[in-house]
């Protein structure tokens, strides 16, 4: 822009004068509409509270969200992940459960006669002793 510094400056001055005159001639209807738009914008800015105060007003919601997240995390970690861990002593209990779930075993238990089984064991021992002897 340096080669024609003088002419652009004069040209700019005249162009600016014409443009400013055109701005000056903007009619009352447009001015009124612009004024209304400006008032609406200013009211909007005043209605929106600054970030500092807005952060306080959002604190209850943020607290609720944080609490919900905390509960979710706790519940999540308490849920079993994958296979159940093997604990010492549980093995026999599991076998007992299998036995109890077996219908035949339960039928036998229903007709439990302790003296009969003791007698049967003795008889077996006696027979075995005679055979061995």
């Amino acid at each position: 822009m340096s080669p024609n510094v003088e002419q652009p400056l004069e040209f700019e001055r005249q162009a600016r004068a014409v443009l400013e005159e055109s701005v000056h001639r903007v009619d009352g209807r447009i001015r009124s509409r612009l004024n209304q738009a400006r008032q609406a914008a200013v009211a909007e800015a005043a209605r929106r509270r600054p970030a500092f105060w807005r952060s306080f007003s959002l604190m209850p919601a943020a607290g609720a969200v944080a609490a919900a997240l905390l509960v979710t995390m706790v519940v999540w970690h308490r849920q079993p992940q994958g296979e159940l861990p093997v604990i010492e002593g549980v093995h026999s209990t599991a076998e007992d459960l299998d036995l109890l779930a077996d219908g035949e075993g339960i039928d036998l238990m229903e007709g439990w006669d302790g003296s009969f089984y003791e007698w049967a064991v003795e008889q077996t021992d006696v027979v075995n002793g005679e055979t061995d002897g």
Partner: protein
């Protein structure tokens, strides 16, 4: 804008970050006054810039109104000295959106069997009255220069038109214009130089 700095509460805490100016309740009115003052200082020029780009009063009014609201919503807490380039950045984006929408609408309407009637202008002689009346001879001279300039501006590429109006009418410096246009300062200088060359080529007889 410096008024705001003097009116701001000395007890307001600098809590906000990213350049935001935090406000206590007592200083909100001061900021509203500063914003009102700023918008009043730019609204007519902004309207003229939008009207030159859009060639329609109603569209220009809509664009300026949207830019005002957007500035108030998103940037009212920014330092006041940043408002002007931000405002014109918003305005330019709005103008561009409207031009694009108008292009699409024009294509659609061209295919329709009917045409929308032009909205009737509300003829209110009082409201439409010019704000001042210069002497007839001077007025005629200005009218002629104005029409010639508006025609020449309308023939410029959009970026050149934009940079010329922002620099010449609004008086933004190169850096502010670069922010408003979303380009480098080098691009601003280049567009401005080309705009001046083109306008001088068209208006040389009238303006020298």
């Amino acid at each position: 804008m410096s008024e705001f700095a003097t009116l701001a509460s000395p007890y307001s805490m600098p809590v906000a970050s990213h350049g935001d100016v935090d406000l206590s309740d007592s200083s909100i009115n001061a900021r509203s006054r500063a914003l009102n003052q700023f918008l009043a200082s730019v609204e007519l020029k902004a309207f003229k810039i939008a009207q030159t780009a859009l060639r329609d009063e109603e569209d220009a009014l809509d664009a300026v109104q949207d830019a005002m609201l957007q500035l108030a919503r998103a940037y009212a807490n920014k330092p006041a000295e940043e408002w002007k380039p931000l405002f014109y950045r918003i305005l330019e984006n709005r103008i561009r959106d409207m031009q694009r929408r108008r292009t699409v609408r024009g294509r659609v309407i061209a295919w329709l069997p009917f045409r929308a009637d032009d909205e009737e202008d509300e003829l209110d002689p009082i409201a439409r009255a010019p704000s001042t009346d210069p002497p007839p001879a001077r007025r005629l001279e200005i009218d002629e220069a104005m029409q010639a300039l508006e025609k020449a501006l309308a023939r410029l590429p959009r970026r050149q038109q934009q940079v010329f109006l922002l620099r010449t009418l609004e008086g933004l410096d190169v850096a502010q214009t670069a922010v408003a246009m979303g380009c480098s300062e080098g691009s601003v200088k280049t567009h401005y130089f080309r705009a001046l060359q083109a306008l001088r080529a068209q208006l040389g007889e009238l303006y020298t």
